[in-house]
């Protein structure tokens, strides 16, 4: 195979291939959202920089930093040849957390894969006991994890949140819906994409074992719930008629009730590795 033949073969592969029908409006909307967030971040960053500068000026002006009245900057001992930081290895913290090197966490982790498989099993058991809808074995799966460095050596972290998406099919329809679940560790802020996706959150009184409080958001594509459990975990579940990553066609509906979603989120088996 030479250069020219490869070029021809590659174009043969792709040039007649169907392209997903995606509304240009959606690309514009995503761009606007990113631009808005970026501008917000720039404003916040500038405000933070101003605040930091003011604090520094105040400290220097008041002569703080050293007992002799000199600024702290000149007193800092700089090691001219710092020893290289050793690569962190997994360690257990007194809080029962396991710190792993941050770079390692981006690789497939057997413990995380096992827990995520468990999530799917719980969702299937709670929301699709007949096995008619959830793509438990198919490719429409993903893993989202969030790490925290709190209490861990530099360059390592512990799993502070973990979630997954599972596709939802309806017989006779070509579209694809999704069930998303996100489990947040005690004491962590439940700021996942599920919570951020909707603005219609309403408190929902519930009397489920082990549940302190719950919130529900009804949205165009379905329903999302957040459950705050007495063991400190927060569990978020979203049932959406469109699996935006994988399909441009929604399913007609997800045959699950708000009560089913709340009961699923209250399941004490939703924990973290």
């Amino acid at each position: 195979m030479d250069d020219e033949l490869l070029t021809r073969c590659l174009h043969d592969l792709t040039d007649g291939a169907p392209v997903p029908a995606t509304a240009t409006d959606e690309d514009v909307r995503r761009g606007r959202t990113r631009l808005r967030r970026r501008r917000t971040a720039v404003v916040a960053g500038a405000a933070g920089a101003v605040a930091t500068t003011l604090v520094c000026v105040a400290l220097v002006g008041s002569g703080q930093g050293g007992p002799d009245g000199r600024s702290g900057r000149g007193d800092v001992a700089v090691d001219p040849s710092p020893a290289p930081t050793p690569a962190p290895t997994p360690i257990a913290t007194p809080q029962g957390r396991t710190c792993l090197p941050t770079t390692e966490r981006m690789r497939p982790d057997p413990a995380i894969s096992r827990v995520v498989r468990g999530y799917r099993e719980i969702l299937a058991e709670r929301l699709d006991p007949q096995g008619a809808h959830l793509d438990r074995w198919q490719v429409t799966r993903s893993v989202q994890s969030s790490t925290s460095q709190s209490g861990c050596p530099e360059g390592s972290g512990w799993t502070a949140a973990l979630g997954t998406k599972v596709g939802w099919r309806v017989a006779g329809e070509s579209g694809q819906g999704v069930v998303r679940v996100f489990v947040v560790a005690p004491g962590r802020w439940p700021d996942s994409s599920i919570v951020a996706s909707y603005e219609t959150w309403q408190d929902r009184p519930v009397s489920l074992p082990g549940v302190v409080s719950a919130e529900v958001a009804e949205h165009d594509g379905g329903t999302a719930v957040v459950v705050h459990r007495s063991d400190g975990f927060t569990v978020e579940i979203d049932a959406n008629t469109l699996f935006g990553n994988n399909s441009v066609t929604p399913v007609s509906g997800l045959d699950v009730t708000v009560e089913q979603l709340l009961a699923a989120a209250a399941d004490p088996r939703f924990t973290l590795p």
């Binding site: 392209v19 970026r38 198919q138």
Partner: protein, 170 residues
């Protein structure tokens, strides 16, 4: 103004970007994610890129970078091939189809770096220097990766069995 110009550009170029991303990712779903990410970046940078008259070059780099980022993202797809394949009869393949399957398989087997070089050089038609600039590597590396990729493709395609059909999970 930005929205109108951007929308017109996307309307015209999206198919090309998707096909390039598809070759890079070897997966249509991930390709769509990559295109979305690249176009979002393009929208943010639009006034600057438009003024510099370098929209195509910018978005091409954005696609490649988004492909790089895609591999690092926390959300990542897990393919379940081997756990359970759909029980669907596979139609008899023609010779042309077999050749396409063989090329896809060979492309998927290339390391990501070599695949990027192949797509930029042989699909997008960039020179060695342009490819090197896009990827941030030296022209010598582009040449060596091109050579390695061609050798691997040549070997894979010559070894491809013709009496056995395989089916990929989409």
């Amino acid at each position: 103004m930005r929205d109108d110009e951007f929308a017109a550009y996307v309307e015209q170029r999206r198919p090309q970007l998707f096909r390039a991303a598809w070759l890079l990712c070897a997966d249509p779903h991930r390709a769509e994610d990559v295109v979305q990410a690249a176009l979002t970046r393009l929208y943010v940078a639009w006034p600057r890129v438009r003024r510099a008259d370098s929209v195509d070059a910018y978005v091409r780099r954005a696609v490649v970078n988004a492909h790089l980022d895609e591999g690092r993202r926390p959300w990542r797809r897990e393919t379940a091939a081997g756990e359970r394949l759909p029980d669907v009869p596979v139609p008899a393949a023609t010779s042309a189809l077999e050749e396409r399957d063989a090329l896809w398989t060979a492309l998927r087997a290339l390391p990501p770096g070599q695949r990027r070089v192949v797509v930029l050089r042989h699909w997008w038609g960039l020179s060695v220097e342009e490819t090197a600039a896009d990827l941030g590597i030296s022209p010598g590396t582009v040449k060596s990766q091109t050579s390695a990729a061609l050798a691997a493709l040549r070997t894979a395609l010559s070894d491809e069995p013709t009496d056995e059909l395989t089916r990929e999970v989409p």
